[in-house]
Symmetry: D2
Subunit: 386 residues, 4 copies
């Protein structure tokens, strides 16, 4: 069986999720080309060494340049903080490596476009990490839309609600700093919603947004890991330079109306990545906190038994689920990454671009940027303008 060697940059939250996907892929998807966990890179020698040992990487380095030019590496997986994506991706592309980059592709649309151009110029495969597409319930939504079972689409409404920074003493982690994160809820959470909209409904033509930073200063952090961090209320404080919440409305090319809301200030919502689609023949609803479920409604159900069906997308008929457990035995967050890597490996071995790829990453960034402009200029902005 064919295999490809992977080199990965970053080993925190996303690094762990990706590592796990590589580690388990062959066990659950034995027909898929195997990713070999060759090399992992992190700036902190001790940290990356520990990660390599725990996650199962064959070796580690601390300089990403060494990794992206390493002759053994076929695929470069980039999940460093967002501000580092561009430089790494371009260097890796130039070195002829296939690219798998976490979202958002870059801090700006211009950067994202440069990355796409570099990848295309180098003729390498490129994938972007919109993992939520790969939840089987989301795949089912896509299937229903694609097969016309929801009819003409009228509405897409989506909200990604979290609550991890509601406490004003939560520290100023990198995700709250514009120079590293690019934006706040908008690029972190909204980007996922935008990609789901593109995946499920299609392209948007114009947008208008609004945005707010509710807590404008926060204590500097003393330690952090994943989304959690520690600080102290009497620590020195710094300015929050990203949005706490961003909302926008959109028109889609197919005539549908979109509403989007991303916030980190919704107590009780740990990770409510949720959307609803209404079409002339039916509707679907999804909430990532119940990621194995899709609510489905059809207008042509018998008159006396019409209602949203709670479909547990764990049957063999649902995407990817024949690789897992019997029906009703649910999967979790991390599984979306395995499915993502299935697509990556299949695409590389079949010599085609994976989906979603940098084109999708750029399209997402276009909307992010159009929304930003619409906020700054307080007007509707066409996607074609940006």
């Amino acid at each position: 069986m064919k295999s490809y060697n992977v080199g990965m940059i970053g080993y925190k939250f996303m690094g762990k999720a990706h590592s796990h996907a590589y580690r388990d892929l062959h066990m659950f998807f034995p027909q898929t080309t195997v990713p070999k966990m060759k090399l992992i890179c992190g700036r902190d020698e001790s940290g990356v060494a520990t990660a390599a040992e725990q996650f199962g990487w064959a070796a580690h380095v601390t300089d990403w340049r060494e990794l992206v030019t390493h002759p053994d590496i076929d695929i470069v997986d980039i999940n460093a903080p967002s501000d580092a994506h561009k430089e790494i991706a371009i260097a890796a592309a130039k070195a002829g490596k296939h690219l798998f980059c976490e979202k958002p592709l870059a801090l700006t649309l211009a950067d994202a476009r440069e990355m796409l151009e570099a990848a295309e110029a180098a003729g390498v495969k490129h994938m972007v990490g919109f993992n939520y597409r790969f939840a089987p319930a989301v795949q089912l939504a896509k299937k229903l839309v694609a097969e016309g079972r929801l009819g003409q689409i009228y509405h897409f409404r989506a909200w990604f609600l979290q609550d991890w920074i509601v406490d004003p003493t939560f520290p100023l982690v990198w995700r709250l700093q514009k120079e590293i994160a690019g934006s706040g809820s908008h690029g972190d959470l909204g980007a996922h919603l935008i990609d789901l909209a593109h995946f499920l409904i299609g392209e948007m033509t114009e947008v208008i947004g609004m945005s707010e930073t509710f807590v404008k200063e926060r204590p500097l952090p003393t330690s952090m890991t994943g989304l959690s961090a520690k600080g102290s209320a009497d620590a020195p404080r710094g300015a929050v330079t990203v949005d706490d919440a961003t909302l926008f409305m959109a028109r889609f090319a197919n005539g549908a109306l979109g509403s989007f809301e991303a916030t980190r200030f919704a107590p009780g919502h740990r990770c409510t990545n949720s959307f609803e689609i209404n079409g002339s023949k039916g509707s679907v609803k999804f909430d990532f906190e119940r990621m194995n479920e899709l609510q489905v409604y059809f207008t042509d159900d018998a008159e006396d038994v019409q209602g949203f069906r709670r479909v547990l997308a764990t049957d063999p008929s649902h995407a990817y689920m024949d690789a897992w457990w019997p029906p009703g035995h649910t999967i979790g967050y991390e599984h979306t990454f395995l499915h993502e890597v299935v697509e990556l490996m299949n695409a590389v071995s079949e010599d085609r671009q994976p989906v979603p790829n940098f084109v999708d990453g750029v399209k997402c960034q276009e909307v992010l940027e159009a929304v930003d402009q619409s906020i700054a200029q307080r007007r509707w902005v066409s996607i074609s303008e940006v």
Copy 2:
């Protein structure tokens, strides 16, 4: 338009619910024969006078004998405490009045049978107040079963969970005294489940139960109304002489298995009157706390969109709902009584027995008694034994 004169005995919880049904019937069901609110009876002159004025009864008396023999009265509605049902019903039947009696029909099976015999001997109409049958969502469940849309029935499981006496200082109201109430959760809550089982699945052949009184003594009450009451922790105490919880298992004549649980010791459940039916072609689930909804599952739904549908039984296609509001505009507890009275008035005016009637009341009492025997004798008891 034809009308009948009603005389009602009792004016508390059920008295209010019945009065409201009579009061509003013509407004929402103008095709139905009109019940005239002629006479109401209660032992407390001042209490019943106030109730008559508030509810809209033309007159009141304090002696039920006067009511049941009053020449103007066509229908006698009995919602006095359970220990008074028998004597009143028999007297009313002898006086040639139609009977509408709250459940449970009587304190014992023997009494219930006497009541049925008296009604049959007198040739009057007789109805028993199993109001939950008349929730549109329950009617939908019945329709699905009757039309074979759930196939062969395998399981009926039902539980009626409340929590109003969990606090051990809640006082010793009449519903906790065997000589007045007959039994506790069993006759109060379990009786409803048994009737729903009869309505939806059919008759049982044998049962075995278990029962418990968790709080064996309580302070005597100082006041009470509906299900709420006041007492004080240091009041004199008396023995609780009814069951706090009764469970039983049953076999149905059609081969289905039944499980039943009635308790007043389930914190968080204000009024969870709930059942599920599993058949070879589908399932339904009902919970009275969401009484406008029926969860419905069909095995022959398309493979990728199988799931319980949340049917909001508020469309015109659902029983009784064309009398109310547009779809999605839900109804409440009290509406079940209006629907019940629709059946009562239709039956009386069409010269047929209403359903459910005393035969159903007796059948319910047979199961209650068989369960009691099974508990006392620690063995399975056939319904045909009692």
Copy 3:
């Protein structure tokens, strides 16, 4: 006990709901001043006569002018189609009658302001029919906000989703004609959301909206009642002149962000009038299809048991619920009107303005109009502009 004589104009959907409220008020709220159902008005003699008889009105007329000047009438209840509100209200005010007008107050902001001025000039009481405020679960939300139990408010998101006109052959009823209805989903459904926002969060400062009519022509109707109607696919067709869906974003004076969506094109949603509030100390969620429930979250719950609580607002501690049934015995749509009329009667007898009154009606109309302008002009519009 004091009483007031009511004269009502209109006898269809809202007329029935109001009639029922008057009819039952004294039974359930015996301490409240009694509304006497004196006179009902409708243009169709036979229709209004039937309604009067069914609903319990003492008399009927076909000319509303006769009603609003009738010396016996104290309160004029206006639930004629929206285009008739203004003329009737002003005439009634001039005749010194108290006013109870269905929402939206008028077809335009200017008309609504005239109505308010007329009422104030006449010194009469005036109420507007935003009945959803009076659901006990909504009252609980208000209480939590008012008592500071949700902290500083960050987000209000609301959507009113229906599906009764998704079928393109559904006929062109009056609610789809601008000259009668004023607007479509915006004034019909959005108006309720706006009023709830005012009630729960406070005033908005600026808005921007978008709107669409998905089905632009429909067959002319042959008959209609409530929200249902009959037509035929091959009937002559007319233009739909109102919006099928309107969305908007808003800023509130207190710094909160708002998102609103009203549509009649959401299959599976019969009457999803839903909102969520996120504050620094907690969140609440409401959905009218489960109107007895409020989902409540507090950030200061113990760390290991944080989660949205499903509060069944049927306990005696919840607004209006001690008038009804024991805990867990739910109420329905029509009960909101009884509570509304409690407020009306209390206000009139206490010689104070009811809440919500025409000031609230005008404020709602201001937002409706600002949104309309923002759509026409494709820009943010300040409420103070309109």
Copy 4:
């Protein structure tokens, strides 16, 4: 870091789940003693070789005797079909190996006791695979009970509902044959409920059950994997020799009442492993199909905001969750096995018995057997009798 060598027998459904747990343990629980995937055994050489390669076992054998006596092996993991457990476990114990055996421990109570005796005689560690204990939401339920936060326990009701054999043409797989599976829904599903009852509430004193085989003959299978299988309607047929559904009632030593239901004939329920506990201070509800959630109710919540809380047990305060993803990022079925293996490895390295162990396995078997006797003899059976 210390490590132990594992040898595993069986490589199908449970074999895969266990393999995955060993494979990933170190990645997510780096502080835990490492299980080395040394040797896997299966009767089919080609099948087991493939499994070894996919899952990551160092070597494979086809004779379990070779495995249990292999000098390199420290821990023997037994997930062969239930009829093989006893012989393997006893041989492994005699060889001084620690034991990790899938449930049910054996086909009969006598066999289970022999296994426990053998393990105790050999002085080895022994664990039984009741994996549902290890769902974080279940751990939370246990914590709430153990800390007295639910008060005195009154009720435990549990049901394990599946629907994979509702179709009467589903073939006669080994799980439907008494000589291999021991029993049907009772030992497969009911055993989990019994163990959860022991874990959460404590021991039972007496039980009475009922049981049914709804489909008495089925076509012989042509192929099978996991819970799915293929057959053809016109294949030769064989008798189903196990129960399709088994229900029982129980008394617990602490005075609580228990009701249990296990069935494979509940359409719409793929894997509804569900329980509810009611105590004097609160209640909890769990459903495995939403395994990340626990519904929690406290009687001492403020009067106006009482309600079941939907606790998403994915916060760092919840058992095992600091090893996984940020709050709201849910886990799946397979994670229960990782947690189970954490306990196994910790116990072995700390030289203590893991929990649950063969004592728990025997206790579960006692209840299974007591229920069987109660069914056969149609009477209550004391646990102390069996």
